[in-house]
Amino acid sequence: MNAYTKYFVKKSGWYLVTLLVALVLNFLLPRLIEGNPVSTIASQVSQGMTDSDSIKKVYENFMKEFGIDKPLIVQFGIYLKHLFMGDLGTSFGLYPRKVSDILASAVPWTVGLQLPAILVGWILGNVLGAVAAYRKGLFDKVLFPAALFINSIPFFTLAIMMLYLFGITLKWFPISGGYDFQMVPHFSLEFIGSVIRHHTLPFLSIVLVTIGGQAIGMREMSIYELNADYVLYSKLLGIRDSRVARYVFKNAMLPQITGLALSLGTMVGGSLICEIVFSYPGIGTWLFTAIRQLDYPLISGCTLLIALTVLLANFTIEMIYGIVDPRIKAAQMEEN
């Protein structure tokens, strides 16, 4: 297992470096934006003031409170220190709410939307793709262009069209929010029902596009596998079709599973546009609001969370692959 341990260590090292780069980027980029983040709150406080000096003092006070009057390097140091203590800082725009609070309230919505949608889309898409590859014929000829077309509709366009059609014109579904505004979050059938109603449209839009993409991918992989030598050989040997099919799809699934795991990794950040279009209270909406208001801590917090989940997902995949796939293990050995 020695070669494998080396592989593990090398990969972990590399991921840590990437994490550091991500940290620096998500700290630096928002601060490069021109414009003073305190201006929103400072201009509210100084509304009605007529003396330049006192208004200026208001700005300076806020800048000191938010810690942005110090040089960039010092700010980065403070940021890292707080990060190790688990403190993501206090939001500028929603002062004095803590960033970790805001994120904690948003993550369940994002995950609750994305996770089932990705899973359902993945399962349905792969089934459709496999069937199309296996059956060929008319089903394949119709399915493929349809799937391709839906896949090429940009996701937000589909979202807007569905919003317009089902939400506004047909009035079947509500058009914004996570749940009915009249309600207060609590555990009851009514509330859950309301959540589901608000959940349907964004859910469907993600599912449809995912189905399209997965179907195409699965179909390709299945065709590839179906043409492989061992399939022909097995058929010649007289092995039952269903058994052959099982082997084929097991092999075809491999890259699809990678794809699934990666999608799950991008889940936290991937629904950005969907959430914005449907004003769903998830991380995407918060990130966007934060960018609009130049709310540095919230921007950094959101982007950090997104980067972290993606890195984590990728890392886990690499580890699992290393253990599970004998081909990769062999290649690893060979490379070493």
Binding site: A22, P145, T157, T169
Partner: protein, 278 residues
């Protein structure tokens, strides 16, 4: 080469995609020559339905939507092309270098590539778009190109690695040809078809990225693109007013363009990729 082209022309998928694209490009080039008005001109009331003189009605500013659509497609395709070119070029160079040369250059470049792949590019795109001051379509195209190359680089590298041990390459090496020459003449022709497919995909994703970023309001100033049209429609509450003509045609246009590009790509894939020839 001619042989490949002839085979391509026989593929129905490729043909559909190519014809659709060409038709759209033709419309975009010819219509402005016929209708010389300024798309920015506000000639009607806001949100007029399609009718007299305005084939697609007017948007929230009272501008001719059909004219805007044509100019919008032009800008979006242009941005997509530049972004695609940029991304493919960078991806090609990096992929070839790391694939052929190998060694520590390979390790460094691969690490960088993987880094770019893992850090969500759309996020970086948003952050960079917000931070720069001048937002012309060229700048937006370059930014998109600079954030979407990793995928091409990875694919090119994989192909190059599998090619680098072939006989003809070894022959050229022994003959003492220089590295750039080997890459250009021995490796490039074999992956040419692959590069073209990658380019088409990059153009499609460039168009999508531009549409997404413009829809969020971070697109180029003072231009009309499909994403910007949809953005205006959302900001000025077109769906609530029932003015479907303000955003549905633009959305549809994006879908058709990307669809035809994907079709072209699939057609080419079926021909050039021996693995999935059924």
């Amino acid at each position: 080469m001619t042989h490949s082209v002839r085979i391509l022309l026989k593929s129905p998928k490729f043909l559909i995609g190519a014809i659709a694209t060409l038709l759209m490009l033709a419309l975009v080039v010819i219509y402005p020559l016929v209708n010389k008005s300024d798309p920015f001109e506000m000639k009607a009331l806001a949100f007029q339905p399609p009718g007299s003189g305005l084939p697609l009605g007017s948007d929230n500013f009272g501008r001719d939507l059909f004219l805007e659509l044509v100019y919008g497609i032009r800008t979006s395709v242009a941005v997509g092309l530049i972004a695609g070119l940029c991304a493919t070029a960078i991806g090609l160079i990096i992929g070839l270098a790391s694939g052929y040369v190998g060694g520590w250059i390979d390790n460094v470049l691969t690490a960088v590539t993987n880094m770019f792949i893992v850090i969500p590019s759309f996020m970086i795109l948003i952050l960079v778009s917000v931070s720069i001051n001048s937002r012309s379509s060229l700048v937006v195209a370059l930014i998109i190109g600079l954030t979407s190359w990793p995928w091409t680089a990875r694919a090119v590298r994989a192909q190059t690695v599998s090619l680098r041990n072939r006989d003809h390459v070894n022959l050229a090496k022994i003959s003492g040809h220089s590295t750039p020459r080997i890459i250009a003449f021995e490796i490039l022709p074999y992956i040419a078809s692959y590069v073209v497919m990658a380019f088409i995909l990059q153009v499609a994703s460039g168009i999508l990225a531009e549409a997404s970023i413009s829809m969020l309001g971070l697109g180029p100033y003072n231009t009309i693109s499909l994403g910007i049209m949809m953005n205006w429609a959302l900001v000025f509450e077109a769906p609530v007013s029932g003015a479907w003509w303000a955003f549905i045609p633009a959305a549809f246009a994006i879908a058709v363009i990307t669809f035809s590009l994907y079709m072209m790509n699939t057609g080419m894939d079926e021909i050039f990729n021996p693995k999935i020839r059924s």
